[in-house]
Symmetry: C2
Subunit: 238 residues, 2 copies
DNA sequence: TCAAAAGTGTTAAATATACACCCATGT
DNA sequence: ACATGGGTGTATATTTAACACTTTTGA
């Protein structure tokens, strides 16, 4: 579906006034990162609309796959952004002008949108990010240092980060940000990064192992600089 | 706004395909109760639509006030119900038939609706419940024994209950279900009811007081059967 | 052999738990 | 005076925290 088709057909394909945005988060180089798309000098979260014949959650899964190639990942709705004048009209106007598309204020895409905000946890190395029709660039950005964001997408990304912070200690989901096999030092560093504070090594390891959700693999991880740490994975029987 | 006006004007007043439902919960006679509305032999949660010039949260506040008379209460969005074929069309058909209103399948109100599910915590004695135009009856029902519910409203009510269960130990919100001044035994019984398990008296009291959010009032509560318990209220300086 | 990272152990502090005890009050 | 519910204290178990000790490995 190209841009013109999207503008013409969107109104009949999608539920009006309802959008969704996903803060797709990953862990790389010791930093928590979020996938952003760029257009006209500003950035936004990957987003989309809910098909008339599609559930809201399916739409989120579809958008996640469209932008990362991942079929199944941890995905959770965490908030709804529903301010009364919330619209992307200014941004779309710029895009349309540049692309030489017919644009008018009453276009469905310029209307007020209530947005369902999801966050997703992915292993960056498994993703194959792609931009959409509208974007000029895309990439992973440190959540602690976000670039200029369009509309309220900076707020949404920050709220996602806050939610993850709260969730991580209650639900055991952080491993979704790592490969299937990972080491305790990696998990430890991940938690320190997300919570932005030091966590005592010994205690962290004991707490994690006491959860009983990890399985230690027989062979220690290779190619480590010093002593080789054990590899773990999530137990199958859950 | 009467029913005919609602059917005729609703489409231009409200965002299409988006509704909200509120599990308004209260505590009475040692039971956790939820406010339900009845029509055509089944029950539903109080709900409404989001005005085109109104934020989603404002809409929830408005609906809460319309049904209880309460201007401000604890109110929280906890989930979004967005299955693809989710519609109240069957139920509205029955109502319209009974009321002798013109009804047709394509009416805006029969379309698929994505519903924002909120829960509210209120002091039942402060409420003045009223039904809407559609309802024949309304009342407080024990959440553990819900009557026949229309569509997915039973599921929404149960999910609200579950969410409250999770929230109550992390956030300190349960006092919203009690009058301004309450006793420890009342708070204790409330928590036991919500969590559906015994909580040791001594420990509960110590934990609650150690939170530092309650203020003991000078005079013990009057008209108690045995020893008069102290009254508490929430500290102003929060 | 030494420094750095990984893994485990050991002790002290803080919380949670169980239950005992005293207080106030209506009958 | 006593049964009952309210309020507090005390001993024990469990969890959390701090940090010491040992192991592994490359330089």
């Amino acid at each position: 579906m190209d841009m013109q088709e999207f503008l013409d057909k969107g109104e009949e394909l999608f539920l009006p006034n309802l959008s969704l945005d996903i803060a797709i988060m990953g862990f790389q180089d010791g930093e928590l990162k979020v996938l952003l798309l760029e257009f006209e000098g500003g950035w936004s979260l990957p987003g989309g609309y809910v098909g008339r014949d599609e559930s809201t959650d399916s739409a989120a899964v579809r958008v996640l796959e469209e932008r990362t190639g991942l079929k199944q990942s941890f995905l959770k709705l965490f908030q709804v952004f529903g301010k009364k004048d919330r619209s992307f009209s200014n941004e779309f106007k710029k895009i349309a002008a540049k692309a030489g598309l017919s644009w008018h204020e009453e276009l469905w895409i310029n209307k007020r949108f209530v947005s369902l905000a999801y966050y997703a946890l992915v292993d960056i190395d498994k993703t194959n990010p792609t931009g959409g029709e509208w974007q000029q660039a895309f990439g992973w950005h440190n959540v602690k240092d976000l670039p200029k964001m369009w509309m309220d997408h900076g707020e949404i990304a920050s709220a996602a980060m806050e939610q993850l912070r709260r969730d991580i200690t209650l639900e055991h989901i952080s491993f979704n940000l790592l490969p299937e096999e990972f080491t305790m030092p990696e998990l430890h560093q991940l938690h320190e990064t997300i919570l932005d504070k030091k966590l005592e090594r010994s205690r962290f390891q004991k707490k994690m192992l006491s959860l009983g959700i990890f399985e230690r693999l027989p062979k220690p991880k290779e190619d480590a600089p010093r002593r080789k740490p054990y590899l773990y994975k999530i137990k199958e029987s859950t």
